[in-house]
């Protein structure tokens, strides 16, 4: 029996290759999605965008948005440097089109907004429901990130269908800046979890013998 240790698990296999194939699957996943798993690169930008949406919703004054812009750029730059120095670099293969799933809700919402399909005065948030469905779809294709994607999708769906402002009153996630803010908060959570997955895949590894 030989062992290849990597990631959060051990690939244990006999001469015929029997054993924990999950470890090999993890190795493939981390390599294939290495750029996407560098979550801390996007978190500062996402937080800045959320701050901009908060300003658009009149929750905060404008100056913090301007002041935070250089900080967000610096944070992203430092994160890129951290990942490059600690984990190296991967040139990914050409995308096979699965990213279309994540872009689909955005396309649907853009078309709906352009055609005036949904109204801000509805007691439920249709954009929230569409986005929650999109996040759930992403969880299907990005199984290792499902522990973050599924709760975000469920919470987003619940917040979108519950009449949070009371029966018959406009839903709080109806206005664009509100549901975009909620989307960005969910994206930040997923990106932080992606970083946790990446760290877990590299942390404390003892190499294969030989």
């Amino acid at each position: 029996m030989t062992q290849v240790e990597h990631g959060t698990g051990v690939v244990a296999m006999d001469a015929a290759g029997h054993g924990d194939i999950g470890g090999i699957a993890r190795l493939r996943y981390v390599t294939a999605h290495f750029e996407f798993l560098q979550g801390l690169v996007l978190v500062p930008v996402i937080c800045w965008m959320a701050l901009a949406m908060a300003w658009a919703a009149d929750w905060v004054p404008g100056w913090p948005v301007l002041a935070a812009a250089p900080c967000a750029l610096l944070g992203s730059y430092l994160a890129v440097r951290h990942y490059r120095r600690h984990y190296g670099q991967v040139r990914p293969r050409a995308s096979r089109g699965r990213g279309v799933v994540s872009a689909l809700p955005i396309v649907v919402l853009t078309v709906a907004a352009a055609t005036g399909t949904f109204s801000e005065s509805w007691p439920v948030s249709l954009p929230g429901i569409v986005l929650a469905a999109g996040v759930a779809g992403c969880a299907w294709f990005q199984r290792p990130l499902a522990p973050a994607l599924v709760p975000v999708a469920v919470l987003g769906a619940l917040l979108s269908v519950l009449p949070l402002a009371g029966a018959g009153r406009p839903h709080p996630l109806g206005p664009a800046e509100h549901w975009i803010f909620a989307l960005l908060v969910g994206a930040a959570v997923v990106q932080v979890y992606a970083h946790v997955v990446l760290r877990g895949a590299f942390a404390g590894r003892r190499g294969p013998r030989g």
């Binding site: 015929a16 029997h18 190795l27 493939r28 390599t31 984990y87 190296g88 670099q89 040139r91 590894r205």
Partner: protein
Amino acid sequence: MPSRGASPGEVEGHDAPFEAIAALDKLIHEPARLAITTALSACEKTDFLFLLRLTGLSKGNLSAHLSKLEAAGVVDISKRFAGKRPETWIRLTGHGRRVVAAHWERLDEVRRRASAWSRGRS
């Protein structure tokens, strides 16, 4: 020197488990090299540091394994400078991609046969 090993089709003819296992490409099947080639098969190319961190091998061990794979024509190693920092990039060659894919097909076949045999005995 290209790596040798039976094609998946050749394994079809083996009923005894040992022959099927013996047909595995030992250059690829060594655990460290299996981890390296499997990671490389999931991307276009990686740098040395990524493989070092992912496999947990020492620099010397990783270099030795990569040299064997390069000598067999499985990987292509290129060195360049990014500013003042030297970078070493590793990629599977076309031959390497075929060899790794064939190896995994062979492993799947052995696994499938073992499962079928177990079901037949129970």
